[in-house]
């Protein structure tokens, strides 16, 4: 049928500074992960591995199941079927240990409207790591929000909110970063910022998963990934292969 699976390329992509995947344990191993909502399967039998320290891409159109899959990977929703393990361990009942290593950029961003930019960072930071005020300024500078640190979030544009959400995510120091549509609502400078943040996380040894329909943009950063269509994996492979697959399929 539509199945035109691409096998995972043997060699690790040249751009990545990471050792070959086989030498390290996987950050995520997903087997047959499925999620059912009512009569329909939002995700159906997704099986994939994400190497530690790599950047993994999930592409697909709106409603393909990317967000659902990310929320399951983030341990926020239980899969109807299937198993997940993180860093070589499969949490059975208690997700707490692995969950605190995960950071998610939710499409709705998860910011409090009434707090200012600095307060948001301080609040989310205090609940995880106790950051110093220097760190707050550094992070705000990183996303270019230093001038508006005392402005309430409710006065921010969508792009500024996304920058702030990225800074809050960075304040948590996650080992596994999940980005759900990071490029939405951003100007070109903002998109470059996302790329820089991803590279920064990778330099710190974190694993990054990006779900997006901006295929080319994501493929610039990613090592490998999967393509989802109506909840099912229709292609797996390196970033270049996914780009070619998407070009053939969606254009």
């Amino acid at each position: 049928m539509l199945e035109e699976k691409i096998t995972v390329a043997g060699s690790a992509p040249a751009r990545s500074a990471v050792a070959p995947a086989a030498a390290r344990e996987d950050a995520i191993t997903a087997r047959d992960v499925s999620k059912r909502y009512g009569a329909h399967w939002a995700v159906s039998r997704a099986t994939f591995r994400v190497a530690q320290g790599s950047c993994f891409l999930i592409i697909g159109q709106n409603g393909a199941g990317k967000s659902t899959l990310l929320r399951i990977v983030a341990t926020l929703n239980r899969p109807t079927l299937g198993e997940l393990s993180y860093f070589g361990e499969a949490p059975r009942h208690d997700h707490a240990a692995v969950r605190h290593r995960i950071g998610l950029l939710s499409p709705r961003l998860g910011l409090y409207e009434d707090l200012t930019a600095a307060e948001s960072l301080l609040t989310f930071g205090r609940l995880s790591t106790r950051p110093s005020s220097d760190r707050i300024h550094e992070l705000l500078g990183l996303v270019g929000l230093n001038p508006s640190l005392a402005t309430p979030v409710r006065l921010f544009s969508q792009g500024m909110r996304k920058r702030l959400a990225l800074a809050c995510l960075a304040a948590q120091d996650p080992d596994l970063v999940l980005l759900d549509e990071p490029y939405g609502a951003l100007d070109p400078a903002g998109m470059t910022l996302v790329d820089n943040m991803v590279r920064r996380w990778q330099r710190q040894g974190a694993t990054v998963v990006i779900a997006t329909h901006h295929v080319e943009r994501g493929a610039e950063l990613a090592d490998d990934g999967i393509s989802l269509d109506r909840g099912r994996i229709v292609a797996k492979g390196s970033a270049e292969e996914l780009t070619r697959f998407a070009a053939a399929r969606f254009h």
Binding site: S34, R36, G38, S44
Partner: protein, 228 residues
């Protein structure tokens, strides 16, 4: 369909016992000394009170069962027991009012047991409302289990606080202080209501289970059919 036969048998026994018990209560047992023939309402009122509490106890146990096992069976049992409990408690309050009017001269009084029954009914009605208003099967099961546990724990607290507040209901009559004829009729009626309640809970449990299982899966079958 062995299940259905078993349920039907229990229901039939319940109905027969109900007939026998009522005949005994209305025609054989002696008249209640203080209240006269009005007192005969006790043969339905008291069993309904016992069994409604029992239904909510079943719901409470099912809620705990769901917490530990997380299976549809427990969720379905909880749904069924809460609903049967709600119906029995409504009946209890209606019967209580019918009895209170000729005895106390009012339809309603803030007596501890009456008030507790009313509050209990409202709390469990809240659980049924919650079940209607949540779409996700897992959310619905967990949240209504939480609400069931809380509503059940609430029952003794309400009882004692209202009892402190005021008390004028007659003390609970234990079967030993009344005529043996009355005791037998009361026991027969209690078993009748018990069997009928078991029939309804079991039947409703089976229906709820079928519906919930349809809602949740069968996962493999569906996945395969999509693949075909």
């Amino acid at each position: 369909m062995g299940m259905a036969k078993w349920e039907d048998a229990v229901g039939a026994i319940g109905l027969i016992l109900l007939g026998v018990g009522h005949y005994m209560g209305l025609f054989i047992a002696p008249k209640e000394a203080m209240m006269g023939d009005v007192g005969r309402i006790l043969y339905v009122h008291v069993p309904v009170a016992w069994i409604s509490m029992l239904s909510f106890l079943v719901a409470f146990v099912a809620a705990l069962g769901y917490f530990f096992r997380g299976t549809t069976t427990w969720d379905a049992l909880m749904e069924s027991a809460v609903e049967v409990g709600v119906v029995l408690t409504s009946l209890l309050l209606a019967l209580g009012s019918l009895w209170a009017r000729p005895t106390w001269g009012v339809w309603w009084d803030w007596d501890p047991r009456l008030t507790t029954a009313a509050v209990m009914l409202l709390a469990f009605l809240g659980v049924t409302a919650l079940r209607r208003l949540v779409d996700g099967p897992e959310q619905r099961a967990t949240w209504s289990a939480v609400a069931t546990v809380v509503a059940f724990v609430n029952v003794p607290i309400v009882y004692f606080s209202v009892k402190w507040w005021r008390s004028l209901h007659q003390t609970q009559s234990s079967p030993k202080t009344v005529d043996p004829g009355m005791v037998t009729s009361l026991r027969v009626c209690a078993f009748a209501v018990l069997f009928i309640a078991i029939f309804f809970i079991a039947r409703r449990w089976r229906i709820a289970k079928t519906r919930l299982e349809n809602e949740l899966a069968p996962p493999e079958a569906l996945l395969d059919s999509e693949e075909a």
